[in-house]
């Protein structure tokens, strides 16, 4: 091989005195191969520092080893957690992770996604909420020959193509806990309409209230967008009700932080005057004052499992698809003093 060039399979073959095919067999760990030959070739590979060209491999195999992560930044922590989880699985393999943030409001969203998959000839894609909730997107990916795994908060797809947290149950338990603490006027801030996670959490709230024998009061329930400002606005609405809540469950941490601001602006003390529970356990949750009691779902583990389902479809069935969440008890929710 020429100087400065990377060694190719031909170099390895020539130097070790065997054919390309034999080297290829070594690389692909073909079982029908003389042990001595294998070792000889492996020695040359090590010596040369040979690494198979993935593009050539992809071309010949008519498949490649790129998996795509398509998302519309629901939350930086979550996206990064997902990336780390995927890497946990693919780090030692030949797969690589290609990311593609998109804009879910773009009119060309579907075409953008199609173009991305076709252009890179992706092997598989992982969809994050809220994109993962759209069947049209998943279908478009599949039509292009892509394996799809969706991450969500409910059973959106077959188990082989899904990892989901059980939001409904988690919220239900969180609300039940508030009831145990003695709260009976429990408010709720819902997520945006059209989000599956928002619906699940809302149903979980209803379930938890029912379980505790409480009746939800529409006057202390509001809907937000999952953003900080909407949480603050919802908070103002709830706290100005005739009979304001003594505890509020917010459908995510960011809105919970907004609610906290609204409470502060009214001179309320949290948790003394108002208990708050959030959802997601973002970094913010632990860093605001008081530290936020919140629901944590196992992002990284879920993403890691999702990646496994993508690259090893055979074992996909035996992997879990529903994951439990934990209530992280911090200082923002306390016993009702009244």
């Amino acid at each position: 091989m020429a100087k400065g060039q990377k060694p190719t399979i031909n170099d390895v073959a020539r130097i070790s005195g065997v054919s390309k095919k034999t080297v290829s067999r070594v690389i692909n760990k073909s079982p029908l191969l003389n042990q001595a030959t294998r070792e000889k070739v492996e020695a040359v590979i090590a010596e040369l520092g040979y690494v198979p060209n993935p593009q050539a491999r992809a071309l010949a195999l008519r498949r490649n080893f790129l998996i795509g992560l398509i998302h519309d930044n629901p939350n930086a922590q979550m996206v990064l957690g997902v990336q780390e989880g995927i890497l946990d699985t693919i780090r030692k393999t030949e797969f690589a992770l290609v990311v593609r943030p998109v804009d879910r409001y773009s009119p060309s969203l579907l075409d953008d996604i199609r173009h991305f998959i076709e252009q890179q000839r992706l092997y598989g894609v992982m969809l994050l909420p809220p994109l993962s909730e759209r069947d049209d997107i998943a279908d478009a990916c599949r039509e292009l020959g892509c394996t799809v795994v969706r991450m969500g908060s409910a059973k959106l797809d077959e188990d082989e193509h899904l990892v989901a947290s059980n939001d409904r149950q988690a919220v239900s338990e969180a609300v039940a806990w508030l009831a145990e603490l003695g709260h009976s006027r429990i408010g709720f801030i819902a997520g945006p309409e059209g989000f599956r996670s928002a619906r699940e959490r809302q149903e979980g709230f209803a379930e938890g209230m029912a379980r505790a024998g409480l009746t939800p009061d529409p006057a202390i329930m509001a809907r937000g967008t999952y953003r900080f400002e909407s949480g603050r606005a919802a908070g103002e609405q709830l706290l100005s009700a005739k009979a304001p809540p003594t505890a509020v469950f917010s459908s995510n941490d960011e809105m919970a932080a907004g609610l906290l601001h609204a409470a502060r602006e009214r001179g309320l003390d949290v948790p003394e005057d108002l208990s708050i529970i959030g959802f997601d356990d973002t970094a913010t949750a632990a860093h605001i004052w008081p530290p936020l009691t919140t629901v944590r779902w196992p992002i990284r583990t879920m993403a890691s499992t999702a990646a496994l389902k993508l690259i090893e479809p055979t074992s996909a069935g035996s992997q879990p698809s529903m994951f439990p969440s934990d209530l992280i008890r911090r200082a923002s929710a306390v016993e009702y003093p009244g």
Copy 2:
């Protein structure tokens, strides 16, 4: 072409009645091509929905179109901002972004990075702090034939291979502003030793104090790790000094949040009793109470520029390499009442 198969350059050539080479010329916008032929071929391409196979292209061209983002999660917001910035630049091109979170404490870090680059045959990589501060990593990437652009907080490399924020100046101005507000006992929480950004911010602090005619007091200066807990610990130290500070500059937001907790735990009111300024303008900064005055640096723009330097080396020289930061004035820093 067979059913269910993606059309190839051969299909396009056959159907439009020209040679592969001509189709290739159309794809590559070769100028020496008859207009009529071009249009004819383009029509067939559109009709077939033909998309060139990037792996085949990469093989033939002996270069590919993958750029790698190597980082050790300094902060989720920042990493995601960088990803979005890079995509701003490459979205309409044939480049793709491959991410690789790594562990900077791993003894095999350098080999892991080398292996990643070789295995994927990356065209270029972008390094994020604190990894970007290590020359050995940048050198290793370059030895592998990779273009490198580093993101940092000081001039770490040639302009063509660098995007940096001017942390020193930004901190200096923030401190000067605290002085203008009437503070004279200004504390400082430094970042971890060995981080270039930590050093720059520390020097900026010294510079700002000097500019305001103030003398830094070692009793109200501490070092943290950029993590929340370390900020809290540093805060406890500073606030228990004989003559505690009336204002503190924290080298990042996360530590500023920790400091805020420490102040709260001592019954201090922020900003009434203690003004705080942070650095980074993470989401947390705006969501804690009181909203944090902080330094914002243009992550996304910088990342977008960095990507441009990677994919268009010719224009790299004419792109800026130093970027100014802004002081975002929120409620956590107020006039000294004394």
